[in-house]
Every structure is written in structure tokens, then in C-alpha cells.
Amino acid sequence: MAERNVDELKKIRDVVSQDLLGGRIDLLLGWEKGHYWWQSRPLFAAREEDLEKLTWDSFCAVNLSRYLLEELKDHQKVGVLVKGCDSRAFNRLLQDNMVKREQVILYGLPCPGMLDYKLIVHYAEAEPVGIVEQNGQVVIKTAAGEKTADRQQLLMEKCRGCLYPDPVVYDQLLLEPQGVKEVEERFKSIEELESLSDEERYAYWEKELSRCLRCYACRQACPYCSCRECFVEQENPRWQGRAYQPSENFMFHLIRAYHGVGRCIDCGECQRACPVDIPLQELNRKLIKDINELYGHYEAGLDNETEPPLLTYRPDDPAAFSEK
């Protein structure tokens, strides 16, 4: 009950079927419908019948590039459907030497932004049973009738600040590109947080992070977290205490955020994956803002050639500790 565009799906299916059946790829990473109509989960298609499950709707938020880390161990050539953020995640992995370009075929899908089920419920003020999209409007169907909302208002947090809805790297672009978006409000919440006093900021994060279950879903979903052994699991030395208390939660999230300095592509998968809604993108965006202010504007994942700021030295780099 959440199909957006039947023609688009047909076009995608035609192209990937040809490649999978023709042997150009031996696995396709796409999406299929999950248990609920408002869920689309990763699809690992290796055979023709798998492709019948393929879907492309407003709930295909999951970043598929992240699955390449495992799938490339068992497959020679993998096809991946990539939205804008997924393609930047691919660049992240490429730059981190985690994937080989020649082992992957990227099918680019310019993305209108994905919808947030929680917002749909909030708007409907009743149990939604499905949606119909037309002309930038979303008609939410409930037992009590229909409700229409502006599509932009139902977007996921990770899509609201999206600057690059079009894939930045692909072998084949399957849909019409949308162009770079202007987002004025990208750092608005960060500026608000920065304006708080140290105590207020600490209280804010203590409250948010106290919910953390340390399930590490954020890490598992994240394209910049590609270590074979994460610091939190290391025994020798043991960086991360095991206790469930705010200080240990701080330790995990701050170190993880710092591991993403100049590397985070701002795809928001951490926040989307978080089962307790911790605003993790704020941590990452704060560091993106800092990097931009310190080393000039830098967008991670746009290409594979520009070196991350912390991997390069320029004589004019700011040196906060120098005497002059």
C-alpha cells in the first residue's frame, strides 16, 4: 500500500534483471517489502525469483552500500541500488580501502527523500493503513478516513538536511536526476546547541545519551564504521568500560564521532537505526561544521580523490597551539 511509482520500479527491475540473468553481476542489493507496509528492508537477490520481491518506494531508507563489506567476501561482482547518500557511503568505503571499485556495479537512483512512519502516524492522528502519493502530496489512509499532508513535512530527519539527492557515483543512472539541493537549516540545531552554556549542553547530552542501550546499531549501520575490531570490543587495552552509565555512553558516542571527523558523509543512518531516537546526527554535524570552519568547506564522500582534511597537511592549517 505504499507504491510511489510503478513505472520507476519497472525500469529498475528491467535493468537489474538483465544484468543478474546475463551474469554481469552475481548478486543484487536492493529492497523488498518488510513485515509492515511502511517498512522496506534489504533484498539480497541472487536468482530470478528474488527479483520479483524488488521494491522502490518511500521507505527504502536503508543504506545498501554498507552490506558490501560482507557480501564482497562471497561474491565476485555485486550490483547495488544507490540513492544519493548510499553512493556517498560507497565513496566512503572506497576511500577507506574497504571495497574494490571493479567488483561493484552501482545503479543510481535519484531520491525524493524517504518518509518517516512516526511522522505519518503523528499527522494522521489515527492508525494509518496506507498512503498514496501524488504531486508532492501524501494522502494518508486511516480507518477514520483520509488525511492529506505535504510530502516535505513527512520526510525522515536524515533526508531533511540532504544536499545531494542524486548519486555522486554510479555506473548507470536509472531515474531523472534532481539536482543539488539548497539546505539553509543544515546547521541550525547545531548553532542552537552551541549557544547553550557548557552546563546546559552537558545536561542535554546526558539526557539524550542516558537512553543509549549500547546496542551499537548506529555503528553497524554506519559507512564510516568499518573497523574489523571496534575499540569498544577490544580487551587489550580495554578502552570502553562495560557499565551502563552515562559516562560510558559518552565515551562510546564521543569516540565514535571523533572517528568520523572529516569522514562522516552525513547520511543519518546512525540516527535512523537508533532504536531509542538519540539525535546522533547532531554529534556528526557539529564535527562537520567544525571541520568546515577550521579547514575550509569539505563534503565527505563526494568523490574518492579529495583527501579528508585530517589526512592532509597544508601550511595554512590552523594551529591552535602555536605561539602566534
Binding site: K73, N97, S226, C227, F231
Partner: protein, 661 residues
């Protein structure tokens, strides 16, 4: 269980004055693994070292903690003592309780607990220390000297005389530097060219010296014993083998440009040698100003050149060479005094800097050796010299004294009187500084026998009136305002670091002070060494200097260089990085940040689902690694450890400081 011995040094009263030694020793006895603790007035003395050696033997110690001064001072001393007693030198841990503690605190109540904490941390780290072995490094028996002024020439000659090959790189078309621009030299009034030219020729003809002029160092990689250097030899547009140095080309060249050698106060041709005694005596085409390169026509030099040595097609060349040592001798610049609006420099042709005025005495200078006004060619009657223009000026210039101005001003005033007996010199000074052999006598002679008027005071304004310059100042001794109608004004502009010194420092890997002069390793005991092993400095690139000091320092730098070159093998770095390849993800960020190219990707095979999987991981070449630790901090998964500073060791220190009270 480790058997650690702790030794606390009083350092006279340096430490004992602010740290309660007895308390610190007592506390040390309770630290985990510590089986012996002692103190002594001067641990670095023979006696002090014997105390450590004997304690190692008597108590069967397997590691040592010394609470002393900075490891930069005496770590080597204690490591040596430990190895003489049969311990691996890397089992010694220094707790810096002087620079980091006693020297930065005023009272015992603050300093003592801190000293205890620092020693506790060192003991915690020492408990985890492993024996390490330093690799041996082969020494490339070749020296690079950067800068072909008197400092570079002297250094090159001294190293070459000791039997080692030296490459002398000079940016300008000829060696000679600032000294080549001088007419006479204080205090003996030797003609500068007469004493410098033989040295230039000697350097050019020395079988062990290669002159690489019109060239710049572009890249330095590697480390002491094995510096890999890229030198850009700029295209001279002349075939040096064919050229006979006859000079017809620059006689005929129609294009002119300001001469750098004459401080822009005269013109040179677009094809030129900077000065008549240039070494090598091979011209250079300045492509910015050459008509052929600008507009594609002319080529007169090529047509007129008897041996057909002009080569417009010549390209820059990159020389790649390996050196055991590097000496930096890049000299100084003169401050541009136009920042002082009141002196009117740049507004009037008869207001000169000291170096510009010096050129007027020179037979090949802008006025062929006649001291005349550049405005109308008349000999000056009154010349005013102003001292400390930009020196000793916290507000607008440099804080330091430029050291050479008092003397060259006395010299120039004296020479002026010799050339023009009717001329009168006035010197506005703040202090006259004449420390040096024969300097005071020389300055006195100028003042007393050559009628140079020394006026203590500062000049507030200089402005042109009729055909002279009104110099208005204050005599601070009498409090009176002085006005002199001068024909010329000479500004003793500050000696400053070269504008691109910081950039060169970055390329070579040495640091600069806040004035951009290169830093020596120790102002007293290591005046020509830098903090980078194998790189030395000489001359005015370290601080303003006169010729005697420069030559002496050049000789010192040469001795240090020869000392290294004479060794077959150097001890390398024992504290090198190692990769845990099972944990390494292979992102190779470490390779990107390694300044020594010591990290390379390697393919390893791993078992996977019954088969094997190939993947790329990082590997450290221990003979190239210098233990800087950049890779260990960029590694997110902590898969790289630095021997001697492992994650475990550092965390043990942190825990010892933070978790125990």
C-alpha cells in the same frame, strides 16, 4: 612481578627547592612493583650514576624509574648507565619532575603531590616496558648544504676538506650571498670581494664540491643518514658546458630589469650574471623579462653568442639525491622600512637602506663606486644615519637587536669621509653596541678621527624641502630638537628572516622561532644542531650575525656534519610502530600520514569459511620508521602500537594518575 628501582634527583635545589624529596621517595616505595627507592643530589653525576648501577646489581632490578629533569636532557645518560649495569636501556623510564613540576610550581604543597603522581605514572609504565633494540642505519657519505653565502661556502669547504662530497645548493645564479654585496668589512676594512672571491673560487674548483646554483630544494624525505632530497635546478637557458663566460650576450641584450643584487637601485639585462665576480660565471636568462620569452622575438643573445650556448628550450630539472646530513645556511633579508611612514622610505630616491648605501661604494655598483645622490648625481655634503629601524621595536618591528647595524654604520660613515672628505655624517642612535674583537676601537675611531657626529635620539620626521631632506629629531641627552638638512638618509633596517624561511623549514623539517629564524636545538650547548637529527644550521638564518660569527658557526656545523658522516652506522630508532595485522582493516590512513614513507600496504591471506581470503593490510618498515606516532593516533581501531609507547603503557600512566589518589 617487575622489580623496579626508583631514583629521585634533587638537582641541587632545582627540584629539591620545591619538591619534598623525602616524601616522594617514601611514596615511591608503595607503588606496585617498586622494590627499591633512593635519592641523590645530582643523579646525572658520576656518583649518581654509580648509585643507580650499584642498586641495579644489589637489588636485582629489572627496570628503573628516574625522577629527574626532562628526558631531553639526560635520558641518554641514564639509559647508558642502565646498560652498563646489564639492563636493556629501554627499561629506564624518566619522570620529568623538574621542567614539568618543580620549575612551574612555587610551593611544596603543590609540587610534591604532583611529583609523586608523575613518578607513580612512570613506575606504572615501567612495569610494562619491554626491552627494545635499535636498528642500525647506514650513512650516506654525502652532505647537502643549502645556501651559498659565506656560511654555506665555509661549511661546504670544511666538509669537503674532510674528504666528503658536498652538494652546495644556491637559489641565485651565483654563490656569494650577502657578503658579495658588501664593499669593505668591519673592523679591519678588508675588501669583502677580496676575501670572499677566493673562497668562492675554491668552492667551485674543489673536487669534492658540486655547485648547484639557480636551484631550490623542493622536497626532503627520510632521516639522518638517509635524507632523500629533490632539488629543482631551474632552467638557466644556457648550456653551461658550451658557455665561456665572455659576456657578449648581456652586452647586446636590449631588455632591462631591476637588479636584485643592486637591491633594485640599478638595472641589469634580461640575460645577466648578478655581479662581475659571479661563480659560476655563467649567465641566466630571466624569462619574465626576456623579450623572446615574452613576445617571441629578439633572440639577439643566441645570435651573438660565439659558442652558441644559448638554449631557449632548456627545462627545469629535478635532481634526486640521497644525503647523510643537511646544513641549512640560507641567510637573512633586510626589513622593508616603508612600514615607518615618518622616514619616508620609498618616497624619495635619497633615502636608502644600509645595504643599498653599501652598494654606492662598490666599483661595480649602481654609481660605479661614486658616492653620489641617486636623485641628481651630486656628492652628498651631509648624510644622516638612523639606527634601529625595525630593530628593538616591540610596537612595529622586531624585538631583537640586529647586531650588525652599529658596526656597519660606523664603517660606512668612515668610508664616506675617506671618499668625500667634505662630507659630514650624523648618526641617530639609541645605544651603540660594539661587542666584538676590535669593534669598540673601530667605532671610536669613526667618531673621533673621522668626525662622525653621534646623536643619541630618535628621528620623528623626514621630509624633502628644496633639494635636501629635512631630518627632524630629538637629542635625548640635551632634550633639544635637532633639524639637519641632509643630502642623504641611510636607514639601518633590521636584519630579518627570509620571507620563505618557514616554508623551507617545513620542507626540510626544522622549526623556527617567533621571528621565523631557525631554532637551534639548545641555545648554549647545541647552537648549530636542530631538533631534527642530521640537520644543522649556520649563519644568519639562525639569528642576525656578522661575518666572523657566521664563519665560526659554519665551521661548527661542518664539524657536526663530519662527525656523523665519519660513522659507518648510526643507531636508528628503537621505538618504532608495529601493526597488528589481524586487527588492521587496511584503510591505510596510516600510510597517508606517515612523514617517512615507512608504511606500505601488503597482501595477506586469511582463512575464511574453509577457504582463504586475500586482503590488504598495513606494514611498517622499522628501518624507516622514526617513532613519531602519527600512525598510532590516526588508527581508529588501535591496530598500531608504538614500541616503547604502547597503548597499554600510556593507559597505565593515565590510570596511575587518574585512578589513584
Amino acid at each position: 612481578m617487575p622489580r623496579t628501582g626508583v631514583f629521585i634527583c634533587h638537582c641541587g635545589t632545582n627540584i629539591a627547592g620545591t619538591v619534598d624529596i623525602e616524601k616522594t621517595v617514601k611514596a615511591s616505595r608503595s607503588f606496585p612493583g617498586v622494590v627499591h627507592a633512593d635519592d641523590y643530589r645530582y643523579l646525572c653525576s658520576e656518583m649518581g650514576q654509580d648509585i643507580i648501577k650499584n642498586a641495579i646489581k644489589d637489588n636485582n632490578l629489572d627496570r628503573v624509574v628516574v625522577g629527574t629533569c626532562s628526558p631531553r636532557m639526560h635520558e641518554q645518560t641514564f639509559r647508558k648507565a642502565a646498560s652498563e649495569a646489564g639492563l636493556n636501556p629501554y627499561m629506564v623510564e624518566v619522570a620529568n619532575i623538574r621542567e614539568h613540576c618543580s620549575w612551574v610550581h612555587r610551593n611544596m604543597d603543590e609540587a610534591t603531590p604532583k611529583a609523586v603522581a608523575l613518578v607513580r605514572a612512570a613506575a606504572a609504565k615501567a612495569a610494562l616496558n619491554d626491552p627494545l633494540e635499535a636498528p642500525a642505519i647506514e650513512v650516506e657519505k654525502r652532505a647537502l648544504v643549502i645556501g651559498g653565502g659565506i656560511a654555506g661556502i665555509q661549511t661546504a669547504l670544511d666538509i669537503a676538506e674532510a674528504g666528503y662530497v658536498v652538494d652546495l645548493v644556491e637559489r641565485e645564479p651565483s654563490i656569494g650571498g650577502r657578503m658579495a654585496q658588501l664593499e669593505k668589512t668591519f673592523p679591519t676594512l678588508d675588501c669583502s670581494a677580496c676575501i670572499l672571491t677566493p673562497k668562492m673560487v675554491e668552492a667551485a674548483q674543489h673536487p669534492n664540491i658540486n655547485l648547484i646554483t639557480y636551484s631550490e630544494v623542493e622536497e626532503v624525505k627520510g632521516f639522518v643518514g638517509q635524507f632523500d632530497v629533490k632539488i629543482r635546478q631551474k632552467a638557466r637557458s644556457i648550456d653551461p658546458v658550451k658557455c665561456t663566460g665572455c659576456g657578449i650576450c648581456y652586452e647586446k641584450c636590449p631588455a632591462k630589469a631591476p637588479s636584485e643584487f643592486e637591491m633594485g637601485r640599478a638595472k641589469r639585462k634580461a640575460i645577466y650574471v648578478p655581479f662581475p665576480q659571479a661563480v659560476p660565471n655563467i649567465p641566466v636568462i630571466d624569462r619574465e623579462n626576456c623579450l623572446y620569452f615574452k613576445k617571441g622575438r629578439c633572440q639577439i643573445c643566441a645570435k651573438e653568442c660565439p659558442p652558441q650556448a644559448v638554449d631557449y628550450e632548456q627545462q627545469d630539472e629535478i635532481l634526486e639525491r640521497r644525503y647523510g646530513v643537511i646544513v641549512v645556511a640560507t641567510g637573512f633579508d633586510q626589513l622593508d622600512p616603508s612600514i615607518y611612514g615618518e622616514y619616508g622610505y620609498g618616497q624619495h630616491p635619497d633615502i636608502l637602506t644600509g645595504l643599498e648605501f653599501e652598494r654606492l661604494f662598490n666599483a661595480s655598483g649602481p654609481t660605479a663606486g661614486k658616492v653620489v645622490r641617486l636623485s641628481d648625481g651630486k656628492p652628498p655634503k651631509k648624510v644622516v644615519f638612523i639606527q634601529c629601524v625595525g630593530s628593538r621595536d616591540k610596537a612595529r618591528g622586531m624585538n631583537y637587536c640586529s647586531k650588525i647595524c652599529c658596526m656597519y654604520t660606523a664603517k660606512q660613515a668612515l668610508l664616506l669621509k675617506e671618499k668625500l672628505p667634505d662630507a659630514k655624517s650624523y648618526v641617530f642612535y639609541i645605544d651603540v653596541r660594539t661587542a666584538g674583537k676590535g669593534y669598540e676601537e673601530f667605532q671610536r675611531r669613526a667618531a673621533e678621527e673621522y668626525d662622525v657626529a653621534y646623536l643619541r635620539g630618535q628621528v620623528g620626521k623626514i621630509f624633502p624641502e628644496n633639494d635636501y631632506l629635512v631630518v627632524r629629531g630629538v637629542d635625548s641627552l640635551s632634550g633639544k630638537t635637532i633639524e639637519i638638512n641632509a643630502d642623504m638618509v641611510v636607514l639601518a633596517a633590521a636584519a630579518i628572516a627570509r620571507s620563505d624561511a618557514t616554508e623551507l623549514g617545513r620542507i626540510v623539517g626544522i622549526n623556527s622561532d617567533s621571528y621565523k629564524f631557525f631554532n637551534e636545538a639548545h641555545p648554549k650547548l647545541k647552537p648549530v644542531e636542530t631538533h631534527t637529527a642530521g640537520i644543522f644550521i649556520a649563519g644568519a638564518c639562525q639569528a642576525p650575525k656578522d661575518i666572523p660569527d657566521t664563519v665560526a658557526q659554519a665551521g661548527a656545523a661542518a664539524v657536526k656534519a663530519i662527525g656523523l658522516l665519519s660513522k659507518e652506522l648510526l643507531k636508528g630508532e628503537a621505538c618504532t610502530a608495529e601493526v597488528n595485522q589481524a586487527e588492521c582493516s587496511g584503510c591505510l590512513y596510516c600510510e597517508a600520514v606517515c612523514p617517512y614513507n615507512a608504511i606500505n600496504p601488503v597482501e595477506i591471506e586469511e582463512r575464511y569459511h574453509g577457504g582463504t581470503l586475500q586482503r590488504t593490510v598495513a606494514e611498517v618498515n622499522p628501518s624507516l620508521c622514526q617513532g613519531c606516532g602519527s600512525c598510532t593516533v590516526i588508527c581508529r581501531s588501535g591496530s598500531i602500537n608504538l614500541r616503547g609507547f604502547t597503548n597499554e603503557q600510556i593507559l597505565a600512566e593515565v590510570d596511575a594518575i587518574c585512578l589513584q589518589r
